[in-house]
Subunit: 293 residues, 2 copies
Amino acid sequence: MDLVLGIDGGGTSCRAAVATSRGEILGRARSGAANIRTDLTGARASIVEAARLAFIDAGLDPERIAETPAVLGLAGSNVGTYRQQLEAILPFPRCAVESDGLIALEGALGGSNGAIAILGTGSVYMMRRGDMVRSVGGWGFLVGDQASGGRIGRDLLEETLLAYDGIRPASPLTDALLAVFRGNPRDVVEFTTTAKPGDFGGFAPMVFDHATKGDAVAEFIVARGVAAIEASLVVLGLGDDEPISLLGGLAALYAPRLSPNYRERLRQPRQDALGGAVSMAARRFGAGRPAHG
Amino acid sequence: MDLVLGIDGGGTSCRAAVATSRGEILGRARSGAANIRTDLTGARASIVEAARLAFIDAGLDPERIAETPAVLGLAGSNVGTYRQQLEAILPFPRCAVESDGLIALEGALGGSNGAIAILGTGSVYMMRRGDMVRSVGGWGFLVGDQASGGRIGRDLLEETLLAYDGIRPASPLTDALLAVFRGNPRDVVEFTTTAKPGDFGGFAPMVFDHATKGDAVAEFIVARGVAAIEASLVVLGLGDDEPISLLGGLAALYAPRLSPNYRERLRQPRQDALGGAVSMAARRFGAGRPAHG
C-alpha cells in the first residue's frame, strides 16, 4: 500500500497524519514545537517524532516513514533558506516544505477559489483563484501581523502603561490587566523581557471579552485589528462572490465584528491545515484528491 | 584624599569617573555593556573594569576602588530586583544604584527645577521640582518608548512591509529601506528575528532625514514621535517657566520639531549623565556639591 504524510508544524506543536495515496487518513499524532527559524534541529526531531507516532497510531511500522513522501506546511518556511536547509535533512524520500498558510488554504477551500484569514498568534491572508495564489501579511509580531493575538495583547500592555502614565485614558480593561501584574507597571515590563508572541496573545481573549462589554480601550484595540483584516482582504482583490474562511484561535472572536459585506461571505473551512497538507501530498505524490475533497 | 565614583552604564557601554569628594573629576574611562537585566555578572564586570580604568586614567591605584563609594546610574535598575542583586555583589564600600534617568536629570539640571526628555534608543521623561522627582515613559521598546529610535526604526520597517503589501502608500523612504534589504521583504523580517532595539534605532536618522525632505511616511512617523514627547511633557505637569533639556542621540533631530511653546524653553544640559552621577556621589558620600555645580 502506497502512503503519504501530511505535516502541520509551528511554534507550539507539530501534527502529522499518514494517509493512503488517495488521501484517506489512517493515523494521526502530535509532537512538540517545530519552529524552523529558531531551532531547525529540534524542528526536524518534532517532525520525525510526529510522523512515526502517526504510523503507530495507524497500526503501521514507523520505519516506513523512510519510504513515504510528505508535504509539510511550516511556519517560517517563506523566510531565508530554512526551507531548503530542512528539506536537506528530512528522512522522507521526497518531500515539499510549504508555508503554513498554503496548507491552511488548501484545507479550508479544497479545490475552490476564495480567501482565508489566519487569525491566531500571528495573522496572514491568502487567496486562490485558479492556479494563482496570493498572500499578504504574516510578517511577524514585531513589524506585522496587525490583527494577530500577539499584537492585540501587546497593544493592551502598551495602552495599560500609557494609562498608568496618565497619557491615555484608563478603562476597566487596563485596570484588569494591571491587576494581573499586581498593580506594578515594572512587572508588566519585566514580562515583556522574555514573553513570546504567544504569551502576548494570551491576553487577546480578555480584550475581546471587554470589547463585548463596551470597554473603550478594548473597542479601540479590536477595531484596529478589524481594520487590518479588512484592509488586507481589500488588497487581495477578492471578487464579490468569492468566499472567505477565518482560521485560527481568534476566528470566532473576529467573525461577528467584520463589516456585513465580508460577514455574509464567511464559510466554515472544509478541513483543517493538516487535512490540507494530506490533500496536497495525495495530489502531488499519491493517487489524487482525497475521497472527501 | 577621599574619592568618589560616578558610573553611567547601559546596554552599549559603561562609563566611570573618579572624582574628589567635592566632585572634581580626576579620571574617566569606558568599558563594555552593563545591561543588568540581561547579564548581571557581565554588568558587574564592566562596572568594575570602568572604575579601575578611571583610577588608572587619574594616575591612582585601581585597588582603591574597594574603599571608594559610588553612585551608579544604570538602565533597567527600576525593574525587578536587579538593583538589589547588583548592590549585593559590587566591590564598593558604599554604593547607590539609581536609574539612568536620575543621573541624567541631575547632570542636565544641576540644582534647578525642570525636565528632561531622554531621546535615544529608548525614551523616558523626568522632571524635578524641589525634592519631587517624577518620571513617565521608559517602559521599553516592545510596549513603550514611543518617541525612541527603536520605535522610529520599527515603525519604518512596519510601514515598509505595509507598503510592500499595498495596504499603505509607499514613499521614497520605504523604497530606500526596502532597497537596504535587497528589495526582499523576507530579509526585513529576518532582520527583526535577532535585531535589538538599538539595531532598529539605527534606521531613525534615515527617517528624520527623509522627513526633512517632506517624505509623507517619514513625516507621519516623526509626527507620532513628537506627539508622544509632548503628551509626556504635559502629564509631567511642568510649569510654564520651567526649562526642558533634550538628551540622547535624537535630541538634536527632535528639537526643531517641537511646538514653539516647548521649543522656546529648551536648554542645553549642564553636564552629561556621568557628571550627574559624580555630583550625586559627591553630595551623598563626599564633601558636597561639585565646584562647577
